[in-house]
Symmetry: C2
Subunit: 322 residues, 2 copies
């Protein structure tokens, strides 16, 4: 990645210090936070907060609390989503509810969300109202996205538009807010901050679409998780929805039958073959091109000397798992 | 109650307007909020915020957002605690997880906590940093108290001091913060705001100890829930812990045996008889007197013409269920 290593190091240092300063008791409330934050992760979102702040000539230290808040919030969603999905693993380690229990995961997730607000509260006073408002708005969007995602599991008709709307809330909103918060804290004009928001939404969409693709076509080792998981779980990803849109006759029947195929390998291979036959990957890449262009366009109007870093960021995001 | 009815009406109006303004979609995220807030409740905490603000000559409208935040936060804790306790009922109606499901209760609880912060964000700018800080600190205390409460369920040795510490976090902290926030927003001096905090802690402790007593000795109709619930669930209340502290010989053996008595009626009557034999109620009332005196003492130093209202509040709290 071309993203300055220094930002990532700053985030890691701050997260370590956050964990070190957690109260010892009640252990069951705070230990899951350190555990979750210690599982690693790319820390993309907080890095983006710092990067956006610096881009507009701001002092990075003013953006650190918001950056950490974003990372804590993201981890809070992972703890609670893992309960919802009954996911036993997170980054190849037991998820919080699997390692402790559901009640502990529920409560320590709650407390981690509050801890995120504790970080937000450390934002310089002049910017606090705007940052708090944006953080709240974003946090609600993420919850809405998660609820739509849960609804889609049992909803028979889900359109590509429904799906794109859902990921704009569940995934893209936090990317978008990370860049917008950084911009605000860096002293960007309202217009530039809004352009950063649009740019963030576009790369968030790109990120999620690519996630869907990597789950099916990525190399397991590079992606860091077993490929085909979405197929096995009948997850309504862009690929599956597109396949249902395009499939006709026998292909459609076969796809429907594969949803209840008990043999995981046969299911993954069967669905992949249909994806390839229907050119679903090409369609997804076309959709990604759309967001890629939107991202590049929103950069064009931004007035900041170092804005090239946004294009580097996009390239870096797109090189995941390859 | 002698507490001005106008405050309660103001709170009810604001809660109704909050529910009315909730987005329609996703329905599963927002409907549980209206449902929970519509179950009624005494709205003691938000009323206390307004009352404290007025007491120091502040404009009540400045305290309304914080008051609603406190009520939303309280309801968020109820939704999540009901999941934890697998409680099927809340105020004689199905709890949120029972009416919908656990995943919906988890997520709509999260969103309700965020909504509370959305209210906090509407606090006048000059007071926002202090109010946000106090709200965060309090929210964490409530989580810590809940975790200790969960731990005590399986912990063999729990002292009266452990118990009092737990309720100071789980129950008293929010009473305390409600009064302190109101005071700050009303323009109280730092010294008076701190006295309000101490007063709030004392009446919070009183409130919880009385709750423990009402659960055993209250009249079902007036208390609004089945009495004896704590006994049936072996809940480590002040009464049970005190009974274990005082019981000796055969009484201790009998008490221990009663914990695994399968017949609910026999269990409640048996434990009640032991409580009466050991004078546990008198001990609890002595403990309440201690907090009552502490409350009255902290009022003494407060400089506000209408401070008598705090004593009315205490009396009103103590007349519950009688």
């Amino acid at each position: 990645m071309n993203i300055p290593v220094a930002y990532r190091q700053e985030i890691e240092k701050e997260i370590k210090s956050f964990c070190k300063n957690l109260p010892a008791k009640p252990h069951e409330l705070y230990a899951p936070m350190s555990y979750m934050l210690g599982l690693g992760g790319k820390q993309l979102r907080p890095t983006m907060v710092l990067l956006a702040c610096k881009m507009f000539g701001g002092q990075v230290k003013n953006a650190v609390p918001a950056a950490i808040a974003v990372e804590l919030f993201h981890n809070f969603t992972l703890i609670h989503d893992d309960i919802t999905d009954a996911a036993p693993l997170r980054r190849n380690k037991p998820s919080v509810h699997a390692k402790w229990n559901t009640n502990i995961a529920l409560l320590s997730g709650d407390a981690l969300l509050i801890k995120a607000y504790e970080c937000i509260a450390k934002t310089p006073k002049a910017h606090l109202p705007a940052i708090l408002r944006l953080f709240n708005e974003t946090a609600l969007k993420v919850c809405e996205g998660q609820q739509f995602d849960m609804n889609y599991e049992t909803q028979s008709k889900v359109s590509i538009d429904d799906y794109l709307y859902m990921i704009s809330l569940k995934t893209a909103a936090l990317f978008s807010a990370s860049l917008e918060m950084g911009a605000i804290l860096g002293g960007a004009t309202g217009k530039d901050a809004r352009s950063m928001r649009v740019f963030g939404t576009s790369i968030g969409m790109l990120f999620q679409l690519q996630d869907d693709i990597l789950d099916v076509f990525g190399e397991q080792q590079k992606v860091g998780k077993q490929t085909g998981g979405d197929i096995i779980n009948n997850k309504k990803t862009y690929l599956l929805l597109k396949a249902f849109e395009l499939a006709k006759g026998n292909t459609l029947k076969e796809l429907q039958k594969l949803l209840s195929e008990p043999n995981a390998n046969r299911k993954v291979e069967g669905v992949k073959a249909i994806y390839e036959k229907l050119g679903v990957l090409k369609q997804a890449q076309k959709q990604m091109d759309f967001y890629h262009n939107a991202a590049v366009n929103s950069v064009a109007s931004i007035k900041a000397p170092e804005k090239k870093i946004l294009l580097d960021l996009t390239t870096a995001l797109l090189s995941r798992g390859n």
